[in-house]
Symmetry: C2
Subunit: 275 residues, 2 copies
């Protein structure tokens, strides 16, 4: 099978590197230096910026930012045959799947739960998905053989594949990933003045705020695409913050300790260790 | 000099282990097993639960939880002579220093910026304070020789000593330590149902929530003792959350990206690296 990967960033490059030798890969990316490097590495067989390069591919992988996935799909569709499988790697699924199901008969959404600090082709690794979980989000209208091909793609990259409803995926990711990122980003609003005391920053601050340095463009797309789940969680979080504020304010030691103990227990149970 | 350390938990035990051989140490702790172990290890020369054991000490180190420091000091004071230096290791300073300055002529507050996940005597390490910073918080009324002795204590433990106003210390720690802990604790309120999807938790979630497993008793004390700085920061944070909520809600991509970019830049500047 021939596969076209659109976007040779961290995720797209990792897929290409993982599949090298198994299939013939076409790389589509607007950055010519990236294409040259991937050709030179033997990671792709041909490549360039034009969507027409996808012609003849059995599968198209959209490894572009969440906010560009559907429009990129619409640009490549004129160049591929009706039986071509399209999949994506976006961190949100409901909106993308809804629009793609309407646009293409053989689309199955995907989201590999893997990442690295550094973006870009060079950061891509053949082993990125080894033992990682990839969630695929077929719907009632998804064709069996399309689901099978996308499952095959991720298993060939070394990933475990699990199936989830697109909306359920977004609900869960809002809690596991999107809210932690949002809360960490926002925590920087109160940290503007502490650069003069850098030497006092401990491990707690470092770890809590690490994801606040994430890519603003990527996360802007994610927060907007998943606003239906993120916004109610912000409300829920603010309500809980208001509650703890009241308890601290009244110095109600018993209630405060109980509240903190409940939180600590949830965290400890998730990891089955003291920390 | 003879030093009495009250509380042989992580911090008290680490001080005792660091000073072993340099001075004669008396350990005061209500847990007899801890005292036995410290005696057996040769870390303390004598020990037990009674405050009277502090008699004849040139310095008393209060290494007990923030909420118990002043009352513990008041229990040991009848047993020590007027020229004995008292210091503490609490994570908040203003309230403690105010009350201790009124209660004792030779008190200087301290806060070693060091810690480990695990509490207790066994977790204590002679090297815990090596190259760590300890903030001491003398006031206008602090006697010069008392400040010198507390400085000597921490330098003897391998620590760098820096001086700060007690209120400034609390203001800074509210941002660097107390708010990250509070926000991480509270994030668990929306994570109650995700235990069935443990396998999907990534590095972002793990690091962001690590400090939510911190000791509820210790943190209850800290949040209450520093409520003057923590409460306004909660308001500030909620206001910023409300702002980002409005921007996501209206899908104002430009403003959202700019806001996230500002946050990411603050975090990156603090660590002078991409993440």
């Amino acid at each position: 099978m021939k596969i076209a990967i659109i976007g040779l960033g961290l995720i797209g490059a990792s897929i290409a590197k993982a599949l090298r030798g198994q299939v013939e890969i076409t790389g589509i990316d607007t950055d010519q230096a990236t294409i040259d490097r991937a050709l030179q590495d033997g990671v792709i067989k041909q490549g360039g910026p034009d969507m027409s390069l996808a012609e003849g591919s059995g599968m198209v992988v959209l490894a572009v930012p969440v906010g560009s996935i559907v429009q990129t799909a619409k640009r490549v569709i004129p160049h591929i045959s009706k039986d071509t499988v399209i999949t994506d790697t976006g961190s949100t699924k409901a909106r993308i799947v809804r629009e793609m199901d309407a646009a293409w008969p053989c689309f199955v959404g995907g989201h590999p739960i893997a990442g690295r600090e550094n973006p870009g082709y060079e950061a891509g690794q053949a082993t990125l998905f080894n033992n990682a979980i990839t969630i695929i989000t077929p719907t009632k209208t998804s064709l069996h053989h399309c689901i099978e091909k996308v499952t095959w793609l991720w298993e060939s990259c070394g990933s475990h594949v699990t199936t989830m409803d697109p909306d359920k995926h977004d609900e869960l990711m809002a809690i596991i990933s999107h809210m932690p990122h949002l809360l960490s980003f926002v925590s920087m609003s109160i940290a503007g003045e502490i650069h003069i005391h850098k030497e006092l920053l401990g491990a707690g601050f470092r770890d809590f705020t690490r994801i606040a340095a994430s890519d603003p463009v990527m996360w802007k797309d994610i927060f907007m695409a998943n606003k239906d789940h993120v916004l109610p969680l912000i409300d829920e979080y603010m309500e809980e913050l208001g509650k703890i504020k009241g308890i601290i304010s009244s110095e109600n030691a018993g209630d405060l300790e109980e509240m903190l103990r409940t939180y600590a227990t949830i965290r400890r149970d998730l990891y089955e260790s003291t920390r």
